[in-house]
Symmetry: C2
Subunit: 203 residues, 2 copies
């Protein structure tokens, strides 16, 4: 085992800047992202915490045009339903929001939690079985920060029907969709959440 690293004040300050400038990105350039960079980021997910060391995350690239079209259709349906659930000014505001970059983001992943994994031997999830899903969320959070270090934006799309996504990607029945991620170079960078700038919620 090597010597524990020491993180100085400069690193702590830069880390806080990273937290501040990580954003949910919905406006992407269409420029390609180097395959090696994505591979490095995916390899790094093995360093994420997971209950029982189960590592239940399954990152499925979504690249085929037919698959992407199906995801966009699912978003369209779910977003229309969501819009219909608001009234008056809130509905008008919702209609103006840009909530995803599904057409532009060059790299996209559906991230699942494998509830069929034997890894971890059930440790730590007898009374709180949701811990397995939470392990996938932790991996996504770390991926998000790592991506931003390298200038990549990540947008987490949840306005989707998980069953439709699973059917489109033909995933095993014991896999649960945790997130759909758009990844690419952001059109603009900011340290204020887009929903705050758009007036949806205060900062």
């Amino acid at each position: 085992m090597s010597e524990p690293p020491v993180f100085d004040e400069g690193f702590a300050r830069q880390f806080e800047e990273l937290l501040r400038w990580r954003r949910d990105v919905r406006r992407f350039k269409r420029d390609a992202v180097p395959v090696e960079l994505i591979e490095m980021l995916l390899a790094q997910t093995s360093l994420s915490p997971s209950v029982g060391h189960a590592q239940p995350w399954r990152w499925i690239p979504v690249a085929e045009p037919a698959q992407r079209a199906a995801v966009q259709e699912s978003f369209g349906r779910c977003n229309a339903d969501a819009l219909a659930s608001y009234e008056g000014e809130r509905a008008a505001l919702y209609a103006r929001l840009k909530l995803e970059g599904l057409r532009e983001a060059p790299v996209q992943f559906a991230v699942f939690c494998d509830h069929g994994t034997g890894r971890g031997h059930g440790l730590g999830r007898r009374t709180m079985p949701e811990m397995l899903d939470y392990s996938v969320v932790a991996a996504i959070t770390q991926f998000w920060l790592s991506a931003r270090i390298h200038g990549l934006g990540v947008g987490w799309v949840s306005i989707l029907d998980p069953d439709e996504i699973a059917k489109t990607l033909e995933t095993p029945p014991e896999w649960k969709l945790v997130a759909y991620l758009c990844v690419g170079w952001p059109e603009e960078e900011g340290d204020v959440p887009e929903l705050v700038r758009a007036g949806w919620e205060r900062g």
Copy 2:
């Protein structure tokens, strides 16, 4: 809005070291942790991503001896049940694991998700309501990394009965327990998960 920061290769390397040396810590020194450090870490959670910018995390300090005793009792019951669910060598191995630092960790939090919050106006959680809980997990993940930068270890205890914890802390019924965290100075540091070192799961 200020200029976007640029993170260089040195920072990226140090960040990977941070991921590698963030561990689930169960062995703590009893030394106190400065209140200001904990306050800074909690303030930083406002930079975490959350669905609809709902910020649904509620960090409840658990410091009173009676509360801590109740948490330890809940762990004792749940852990005995868990042990009884294993057989043979796996049971013997489970019995030898140290899974929490509830008696030693100087700082402890129960972290809840407030399902009663009006913030976010439901955005992004119509088809995936679990997004609200996931927002709390993201905040905990970032807290965990920030704590490690400052030398603090965090241990996530899930072998608990969420209803017992909520009753002990008298939290509102619409709050859901997401995590119980032990925080303090680690007795030892490592870059290999304790469950791997103990032979529970391979690396």
